[in-house]
């Protein structure tokens, strides 16, 4: 997975366009920061109160007061600014985020997202997830295609409590890039060495294949 994970991250990072304001959710998405070019003109937002995240610092360079929402130490770039938690989510709810990248337990083929609670098993709280999922202009998910037991995370309908309905536009996994289209999941690209059939079998809902040739990442 480590190699597949790096390729997933690199592929997702390619969709971060110049000029965007982008929030990276805790977990896998925060790793995107080290896959972005230092020359890219992009405003990275972290919900704990900062715009302008720079490359990850070495442990020696870490500033005790400077973390991202996942608790990882981060750096600034010229023009970074800090603000309180109310202002941070004012940006989120008022539509200033062009893109947010989130983790997921399940994604429904209608774009529903479940990423905060597994009743009876895992319930650490929703954090900023609801507001990010509900209000970012574009919501994408970075996740493994299946859970540790091999069960699909992309499903016809989510069975877990929702973070937000109808919000996910695209999913990047270790197997494929999948869009949520008007008729459900659409296969966009395959990871190197993965067949379309493998992607279809790992998906818990119909996966629409494109007419042309599939890209590979």
């Amino acid at each position: 997975m480590s190699n597949a994970r790096e390729r997933l991250l690199a592929r997702a990072a390619r969709d971060v366009q110049p000029g965007m304001v982008v929030n990276l959710g805790i977990g896998l998405p925060t790793k995107i920061v080290d896959h972005l070019s230092e020359d890219l003109c992009v405003c990275l937002h972290t919900e704990n109160g900062m715009i302008g995240i720079g490359p990850s610092p070495s442990p020696e360079q870490a500033d005790r007061n400077l973390i991202d929402a996942g608790g990882a130490y981060v750096s600034t770039v010229p023009g970074s600014a800090f603000f309180d938690s109310a202002t941070s989510f004012a940006m989120v709810r008022s539509g200033r985020l062009d893109l947010t990248m989130l983790g997921a337990f399940e994604v429904g083929s209608n774009g529903d997202l479940a990423n905060w609670k597994i009743p009876g098993k895992f319930s650490p709280g929703v954090g900023g997830g609801i507001e990010l999922a509900q209000k970012a202009r574009r919501v994408v998910v970075l996740t493994t295609h299946t859970d540790r037991a091999g069960n699909p995370k992309l499903k016809t309908k989510c069975s877990l409590p929702l973070t937000a309905p109808n919000c996910v536009a695209r999913i990047y996994t270790d197997l494929a890039v999948v869009d949520v289209g008007p008729k459900g999941f659409e296969l966009v690209e395959l990871a190197r060495g993965v067949t379309a059939n493998e992607a279809v079998e790992a998906t818990g809902a119909p996966l629409i294949l494109p007419h042309g040739e599939l890209g590979v990442f």
């Binding site: 020359d39 715009i51 200033r96």
Partner: protein
């Protein structure tokens, strides 16, 4: 990663304004009023505007120019006491005026900039300012719902800025500026001192550049910015 440069000319920025737009204008009296952006809006000529501003400045200053040029149809404000001309326009039905309690206007703008639909407050209950507003019972008390307020464009005055749009304000020139800078689809800031990106201490930034669309540097502080002699 780099942050984008949003510097442009006053005219380019103001050209985005359309007839019928709602425009928020920072300032409380002279401090914080974007005098130069206002003059550019007079020159631009957009009409049928709704302005949102704490006050109407004084005759010959600030938004008084827009009132005299006939560009303003409606003014959402708190107090016109220092502008007899604005009061005359209101009294002769040449200007629609909506009065808000000052802190409630501030909160309505902040709510608009914060993606909230409104706030619940008991301010104004038992006065004519509560008339026509939706009231509800919440946790055993009567509350007025005050709707969030947003604008098409906000005109902001900052003391210092970097080209990404991070802003700092001076003394009581802060007032409505950081609130309005959150609450419009297009936010234009004029600044006395424009610095390269990163020219401000990240801990002292009062409005983060992510809220700002255009920043313009003042070439001179005209006499409208000066101390008013009375």
């Amino acid at each position: 990663m780099k942050l984008p440069n949003k510097q442009c000319t006053t005219e380019t920025a103001i050209a985005k304004i359309r007839d019928g737009d709602t425009i928020m204008v920072g300032g409380f009296g002279v401090p914080g009023t974007p005098m130069t952006l206002i003059h550019a809006l007079v020159a631009h000529g957009a009409r049928d505007l709704t302005l949102v501003k704490n006050d109407a400045n004084e005759p010959g200053l600030g938004i008084d120019h827009l009132l005299r040029s006939g560009q303003v149809r409606r003014l959402i404000t708190t107090h016109l006491g220092l502008n007899a001309y604005a009061i005359e326009l209101m009294n002769t039905a040449k200007l629609e005026v909506e009065f808000n309690a000052q802190g409630i206007l501030a909160e309505r703008i902040r709510a608009g900039g914060s993606g909230l639909a409104g706030i619940l407050t008991d301010i104004g209950i038992g006065t004519e300012l509560a008339e026509g507003k939706q009231e509800i019972e919440f946790e055993g008390k009567r509350q007025i719902i005050e709707a969030a307020l947003r604008a098409d464009v906000a005109l902001i005055h900052a003391e210092r800025a970097d080209v990404f749009g991070n802003l700092e304000f001076a003394a009581t020139a802060q007032n409505f500026n950081p609130l309005m800078a959150m609450a419009a689809d297009c936010v234009i800031a004029e600044t006395v001192n424009l610095l390269p990106v990163g020219g401000l201490n990240p801990n002292n930034v009062q409005t983060a550049g992510v809220f700002i669309d255009h920043v313009t540097e003042l070439t001179a502080l005209t006499k409208e910015y000066a101390v008013v002699k009375r």
